[in-house]
Symmetry: C2
Subunit: 424 residues, 2 copies
């Protein structure tokens, strides 16, 4: 016995020398740069536009408390037992009815799969569709969480630029004509990180193009309900129903901590997604689903969404007005009709990483643009979040950021070229 | 416009003709046969030993209600916000302290990752370790959920028999000497489906063997706390700490509906698992974690586990006593020291699928053994669950099942060979 334990001890460092023990895929997943940024931003004096958090002051705490009480009282143990992989039938009925009422979309309940947040939806889609080396079109700049989720399945990312004009249609046509693309990942409403939405014309052009191809479009729509201006565009579920998969979430309209999202997909895809769901976590937290059932049954969901829109809308206005007031006029920025983010491009291709370092000294944080691109180490772009900071704090923070940009411009005048990122 | 929509309509059936749209992996995942079985067993007159559910009458409903109230009152919005991928620090500290106190295992908090149930732990391990074609040893019969989770990553399964003697050590040595095995998946305590535990001698032999090899052992331990007889065996975290990954869960000791489990792994592995976790669902339901924090702080967890053990222990005894009374004496069965299942082998290699059909007519259900093997369509084995049926119902159900076995034996005497499964 003793010799056995001695051997164990002498072997105790072998593990770190074990070769090839990890999968190839896990080495390919980009580390969350944003997490590192957020660590810098925890200093209480720092005004942070870096996170992507909804405003916690707007969480419907009292109603969720009542809903939770009702679940313990009326549902009891079955709210705490193992449950179905498809998820709550009542929630799926609510989602189906709401798509019809709000968006004139006919979605059968059987096409709705509850997921543990939209992030799990992305993982399930990766599991279900992506072989190693498969072509997938993503937006550039694009949502980092989607890039992470799909990276696990080692696809070949084909980034296509998004702008106020939507997804670059010429490039899309070109890519689809020359490659066997399997999936297109899109956030057509108030995209993360840029805040832009695809114009109606762009949506129709995309639909016409992909209707001829052996390709599916994923429409990730966590922000669609948060519209502060303009008219909603048609969903790809309207335009190319047979070619589209739609993702939704309660994270931005109720609370993110419950991790409740959903996927809308046709039967043959649904069946595969369900197998992937079972293999991934059996089912989504049953108690949280029961609480949301009760909450939705109270009937205040729409007025709650309206109140979020009112507050975020004002915060967006505050940010745009402050930018006009405090940023040099050669700084470009998007003016989103909804969502939680806007996107800034510095003049002279100045590095947003350099700006970040100056900004942190001035106690204001944001996310530099490069993690939203595949393979870039620097850009002249940055993301600003406006959902989680109140109006007067927004003005103070943007003023600080304007000063930081001013300093960077001065430095650049003194030694031009030294502070360059890469143009986008 | 019109022609565009017309084209859409004529194209509406193309989707089903889309070739090669799904990933190879998703076609390889076995469908949950157990789910199909459970559908048959919903008839209220059927006594079901088929499921794997904990007994809902034992859920600590009142304490969880109090804990939930406390979370709304004292924690508030941060219980509903986005949270850390590592999971609740308080829960991880509790788990760490309990490993030390109950099992004399020193596990740093930094080695504990909260997962959305143990099932997600298995998926994260698949993501982190398994390249296509990698060798993984699994138990035979083995846990179906693990086979499903790993199947996604297309490994090469190498099944090794488990019995009352534990994992077959000769086969293990043989396989490890001849193949480059990456992972061993084991459930050493009260295994699902067989109910057997690895004897101490077997654990030490396994540890000695793998200490010399470039291989990791996964110890999945959802049932370890549910011991009704005998002495706990040493964890592989004791025996080969650098070679072992340990999985735990609150599903059997508190409630499964919260989907709360954990993985214990060393730093280098932990770091990769954390990336996989972020990509999979960002983090586990934060509200459920806060409620469990409060529940654990109340201090009744150990006495609650004791009360579960008392009830399940009596139910196990009732099942064994009824089997002795009602089954033909040439039926073999395991006598587990804990957990939720026991395992039955029919004489003359009779088919447990044939038995299932007779049993359902007699209003009693179980899970035939073949889904717990790789590539088998029939066996002479079956799994019986005793956690979710009370003692008197167990006696009635086992009596019915004994009659069904009697009928199958009679049929076999009349036309021998016709009712054969395959021997195990």
């Amino acid at each position: 016995m003793c010799s056995f334990y001695d051997r164990m001890i002498t072997q105790s460092h072998i593990n770190t020398e074990m070769n090839n023990i990890f999968s190839d895929r896990i080495s390919d997943v980009p580390k969350s740069f944003i997490r590192e940024i957020l660590k810098v931003a925890v200093d209480e004096e720092v005004i942070s536009f870096a996170g992507g958090l909804p405003n916690r002051d707007l969480f419907p705490l009292e109603e969720l408390k009542q809903a939770s009480d009702a679940v313990f009282k009326h549902v009891g143990p079955s709210a705490l037992q193992y449950s179905s992989s498809e998820g709550s039938l009542k929630i799926r009925k609510f989602i189906s009815a709401r798509y019809l009422q709000k968006f004139n979309l006919e979605i059968p309940v059987e096409h709705i799969l509850i997921t543990s947040g939209s992030q799990q939806g992305l993982d399930l889609l990766g599991k279900t569709f992506l072989n190693e080396g498969d072509d997938i079109i993503i937006e550039e700049p694009g949502y980092l969480g989607a890039i992470q989720a799909f990276s696990i399945y080692k696809p070949n990312f084909l980034p296509i630029t998004v702008s106020d004009d939507g997804l670059d249609i010429d490039t899309l046509n070109n890519v689809l004509n020359n490659r066997e693309v399997k999936l297109i990942y899109s956030v057509p409403n108030f995209q993360n990180p840029s805040g832009v939405s695809y114009p109606e014309k762009n949506r129709k052009e995309i639909s016409e193009t992909i209707g001829h191809k052996n390709v599916l479009i994923i429409e990730d729509d966590p922000y669609g309900d948060l519209r502060y201006a303009g008219k909603p565009g048609l969903s790809f579920k309207h335009l190319v129903p047979e070619r589209s998969i739609l993702l939704g979430s309660f994270s931005k309209t109720v609370v993110p901590g419950f991790r409740l999202g959903w996927i809308v997909a046709d039967e043959d895809i649904y069946e595969k997604l369900l197998i992937a769901k079972q293999a991934s976590d059996l089912h989504t937290n049953q108690f949280a689903q029961c609480v949301i059932e009760e909450y939705l049954a109270m009937g205040n969901f729409e007025s709650h969404v309206s109140s979020i829109k009112e507050v975020y809308g004002r915060q967006r206005d505050a940010m745009i007005n402050s930018i006009k007031k405090y940023f040099p006029s050669n700084v470009r920025y998007t003016q989103p009709d909804g969502g939680m983010f806007l996107w800034v491009a510095l003049p002279h291709d100045l590095s947003s990483m350099k700006l970040f370092n100056i900004a942190i000294e001035k106690k204001v944080a944001f996310v530099p643009g490069h993690p939203f691109y595949i393979g870039k180490k620097e850009t002249n772009t940055l993301r600003l979040n406006f959902s989680n900071v109140d109006e007067s704090t927004i003005e103070t923070g943007i003023q600080r950021l304007g000063e930081a940009i001013g300093e960077l411009l001065e430095q650049n005048e003194k030694s031009p070229g030294n502070n360059r990122g890469s143009a986008v």
